[in-house]
């Protein structure tokens, strides 16, 4: 037990090395990212919770198979988010479903962040505001929406977003600005 607690405190990179030696250690990486990635899948897709869990399993298997491809220069979280994003994209390409953000995915903190970042008055009812923001986010271009989700929902910085979506940091900044602009125009 004491040994397990020790493993739980290891860094991601250390856990990757340990997993390559013993597959049981993969459990610690799964536990660390399971919740975050489940929410991320739900935010960028319109799948049910059960389907999201199935996707999550497939993603973790893929991560395990590709552990030797992990580049330690990159943050492990960026790498695992990248695999998740790509897997979800190929899933909805296969099913031809446009991903839709659900209003329930926006918690109070994210709502406040978005409201202040996008100059939205918070005087109106939070539930209505949440629905309005969700509706507008679902209307803007997918590539901009994805960057907004990573920035304000997943709280990733520009470099991390760049590593996740595999675009230059400058392009991330452009997407974010355009996304904000589209959001403000549609929110009026």
């Amino acid at each position: 037990m004491a040994e397990n607690q020790g493993l739980g405190q290891k860094t991601d990179n250390e856990l990757v090395k340990l997993t390559l030696k013993n597959q049981e250690n993969f459990l610690y990486l799964v536990n660390r990212y399971e919740q975050k990635l489940l929410y991320f899948i739900l935010r960028i897709s319109n799948v049910s919770i059960e389907e999201a869990k199935d996707l999550l399993q497939e993603i973790f298997i893929k991560v395990y198979q590709n552990l030797n491809d992990f580049d330690p220069d990159l943050k492990f979280s960026s790498w695992i988010y990248r695999i998740t994003r790509n897997h979800v994209i190929s899933h909805y390409r296969k099913n031809k479903n446009k991903p839709t953000l659900l209003s329930s995915e926006i918690n109070e903190e994210t709502l406040n962040n978005l409201a202040s970042e996008f100059d939205i008055s918070q005087a109106i009812d939070q539930k209505i505001l949440r629905q309005n923001i969700t509706g507008v986010l679902n209307e803007i271009d997918d590539k901009y929406k994805e960057v907004i989700i990573l920035k304000y929902f997943e709280e990733k910085n520009y470099q991390e977003i760049s590593d996740i979506i595999k675009k230059p940091a400058g392009t991330v900044a452009t997407y974010l600005n355009r996304g904000k602009k589209q959001f403000k125009e549609k929110f009026k």
Partner: protein
């Protein structure tokens, strides 16, 4: 829920005997992508070297053409090599984008850097004479390249205006026979031994009969670097061209 999913995944990995793919597979893939990038840049550089040769030795200043700049460009622009360069820049770009860190670079930066590298290596290739040799090899060995060069050569032919361009098909002690880029045969009376069969030439002078041409100047299709190598009739270095 957390324990369930994590445990399920571990069980699945064990049951299906899933193993991480070996590191060498990823390394090999990465090396192949880099190798294709390097090869693409190298081929693009060779094409650039040939283009530098063709443009620099196209005799822009001495063209006695009554046609305008646009026709001069059509005659002298090395379209084939330009297309080769573009194709291999695209291949280089695609491969660099697919290296591990390729996505960090701005696409415009990749394209510009590829072009600059091609120009640098191409200039060295040209300076060593490689551009000329490669172009000549293509013309002699590949019929498709000859066919591509013909339309440009045809634009140069105007016997009434005193110029023909074509390939030497026969070298005799008294005359040289040239097959112009339209397929017409011309007899050039000369005793020079400076031209060989298969060589492309430009001839300036006067049309005497439908198939005979009196040449004032006969020179390789592309000017050589040293003026003394640009043989004119009677083994003299070429004088300045007479203006039409």
């Amino acid at each position: 829920m957390t324990e369930q999913i994590g445990q399920k995944i571990i069980e699945k990995i064990k049951e299906a005997h899933i193993k991480p793919k070996p590191r060498w597979e990823f390394l090999l893939k990465n090396y192949v992508v880099w190798a294709i990038f390097a090869i693409a840049i190298f081929i693009g550089s060779l094409a650039t070297g040939v283009m530098i040769f063709m443009i620099k030795h196209a005799e822009w200043e001495n063209h006695p053409l009554e046609e305008g700049f646009f026709q001069q460009v059509l005659i002298n622009l090395p379209f084939f090599w330009l297309i080769i360069l573009i194709i291999f820049i695209v291949i280089a770009f695609y491969n660099l984008k697919h290296t591990k860190k390729g996505y960090k670079y701005n696409p415009l930066f990749i394209v510009l850097a590829s072009i600059i590298i091609s120009i640098i290596i191409g200039s060295i290739f040209y300076a060593t004479g490689g551009g000329e040799k490669l172009e000549d090899t293509f013309f002699r060995r590949f019929p498709f390249y000859q066919n591509m060069m013909r339309p440009q050569g045809r634009l140069l032919i105007n016997p009434e205006a005193g110029r023909i361009a074509g390939v030497v098909v026969e070298v005799n002690q008294e005359y040289i026979t040239i097959k112009d880029f339209r397929g017409g045969l011309w007899k050039i009376v000369t005793t020079t031994d400076q031209f060989i069969v298969g060589q492309r030439v430009r001839v300036f002078g006067k049309m005497m009969q439908p198939k005979q041409f009196e040449a004032d100047i006969m020179k390789p299709f592309f000017q050589h670097t040293r003026p003394s190598d640009n043989h004119c009739l009677n083994n003299q270095a070429c004088p300045p061209l007479p203006m039409p």
